[in-house]
């Protein structure tokens, strides 16, 4: 158990990066790929920022 905690502590930044990249890849597949369940929301040109209106 201690060795696992030690390993996690030593590789914290690396683990965060892996999680972030995985989240981006999976999130993109889920929401932006042609195979996702939201075909009406596909075009990336629809992307706008909330604060853009100001």
């Amino acid at each position: 158990m201690n060795s696992i905690i030690h390993w996690v502590r030593n590789h914290q930044q690396w683990l965060i990066n892996v999680i972030v990249y995985l989240a981006i890849i999976l999130g993109s597949l889920l929401m932006y790929s042609p195979y996702s369940n939201n075909p009406e929301n596909q075009p990336s040109s629809k992307i706008k920022f909330v604060y853009q209106q100001f």
Binding site: V20, I24, I47, F49, V50, Q52
Partner: protein, 385 residues
């Protein structure tokens, strides 16, 4: 093609940043770093940004006012100059129609508000008898692509220091730091904010008057706004770093804020700083000169605070929800300021008494999250009344 809004933008900037790094190696003797950055911004603006001509006109107009008021006539009173500088923005916000012309069409362009903020800061920071800012530097500062659309609101003096750093500001450690920020920004905006919008905020019936639905709508919008805006800011800071410019941070764990003052140091920080320097301080100084306000420092502070947030609401737009939300933030700050004043006067905490510091901190965070969520909910215009 607006900044960070499509894959095309990222591809374009991969090429332009590549050229910038290539210039560091091959052209550093012929083209200075500042010139190369300006060139990139101008290329993007002319060929890819909507309404480049409008921006060019605003730049020339604002520089003329800056030059005439501060350099030519050295007018001490900044108010007329500021009024002329914010006039285009006011005309757009109020949708002014004069001489049968809808001025919105002629003046409005994406990012007008944020450019106006930066223009005002240049004018306000100009000291009498100081050397005028070079027009190319002025342009470079105002149209710097990463912060062009919605900030963070940088300052010319800080920007100039980075610009003068030259090509040495382009190095691998800064590139990696910027890359890391951009990745977090992409995660926030394109994955988390998008997921919140599609699966949490979107399905909520905003017109429902059921209290639980309204509470759900309130938290959903707050989370969505945070990830959307913080995501953009992180991408802007990241790309800025990659291009050698340290764009100031905008968000720093806002949900950990313990009071309104702390909140504006964490949520849209660059706007909070801007409001403090160019609204709050001038108001406070002006009120100090008023005879009837002189003996009441707390009253002076509170009136200045409230007016600052009220104006912030008006800046978002002359609509009831924006003005009310600004006023609510103003009331929060006034109440907190008075609380601090009376705590100091009584030599004890008049609300939390003898509670442990940790308990006070947890309670404060909980209260702030909910109070700010209410104000942002009003701001969203989703209240069904």
């Amino acid at each position: 093609m607006l900044p960070f809004s499509s894959i095309d933008f990222f591809l374009l900037f991969a090429i332009l940043v590549g050229l910038l790094y290539l210039a560091k190696v091959l052209l550093h003797r012929y083209i200075p770093f500042s010139g190369m950055l300006l060139l990139i911004s101008v290329i993007y603006l002319i060929f890819f940004y909507p309404k480049p001509f409008h921006i060019a006109i605003l730049l020339i107009y604002s520089y003329m006012i800056y030059y005439i008021f501060t350099c030519l006539f050295q007018i001490q009173n900044k108010l007329p100059g500021v009024f002329l500088l914010v006039l285009p923005m006011i005309m757009v916000k109020t949708n002014t129609i004069a001489a049968n012309i809808e001025w919105n069409e002629f003046i409005s362009f994406a990012g007008l508000s944020y450019i106006t903020f930066r223009i005002v800061s240049v004018y306000m920071d100009a000291l009498p008898n100081s050397k005028p800012v070079n027009f190319f530097r002025y342009t470079s500062y105002l149209i710097f692509t990463p912060s062009l659309l919605i900030g963070p609101i940088d300052r010319l003096n800080r920007f100039s220091v980075d610009l003068d750093g030259g090509y040495s500001r382009l190095n691998s450690s800064r590139f990696l730091e910027g890359w890391q920020m951009m990745i977090f920004g992409i995660l926030y905006k394109f994955i988390i904010a998008e997921a919140i919008n599609r699966y949490w905020l979107g399905p909520i019936d905003a017109g429902s008057k059921e209290i639980l639905v309204m509470i759900n709508s309130m938290y959903a919008y707050y989370a969505y706004l945070y990830f959307d805006f913080a995501g953009y800011s992180a991408m802007a800071i990241g790309l800025g770093k990659i291009m050698g410019i340290d764009v100031p941070i905008n968000f720093n764990k806002p949900f950990m804020a313990v009071n309104p003052q702390d909140y504006w140091r964490r949520w849209h920080k660059s706007l909070g700083d801007w409001l403090k320097d160019y609204f709050f301080m001038p108001f406070y100084k002006a009120f100090t000169k008023w005879k009837f306000m002189k003996p009441y420092p707390l009253f002076r502070q509170n009136v200045s605070l409230f007016l600052t947030f009220l104006l912030m609401g008006c800046w978002n737009g002359f609509k009831g929800n924006y003005i009310l939300s600004g006023s609510i933030f103003g009331v929060y700050s006034v109440v907190h300021n008075s609380y601090i004043y009376y705590c100091r006067k009584n030599g004890r905490d008049i609300v939390f008494g003898n509670l442990s510091p940790l308990t006070v901190k947890i309670l404060s965070i909980f209260i702030m999250i909910n109070l700010t969520a209410i104000a942002i909910y009003v701001f969203s215009g989703r209240i069904p009344f």
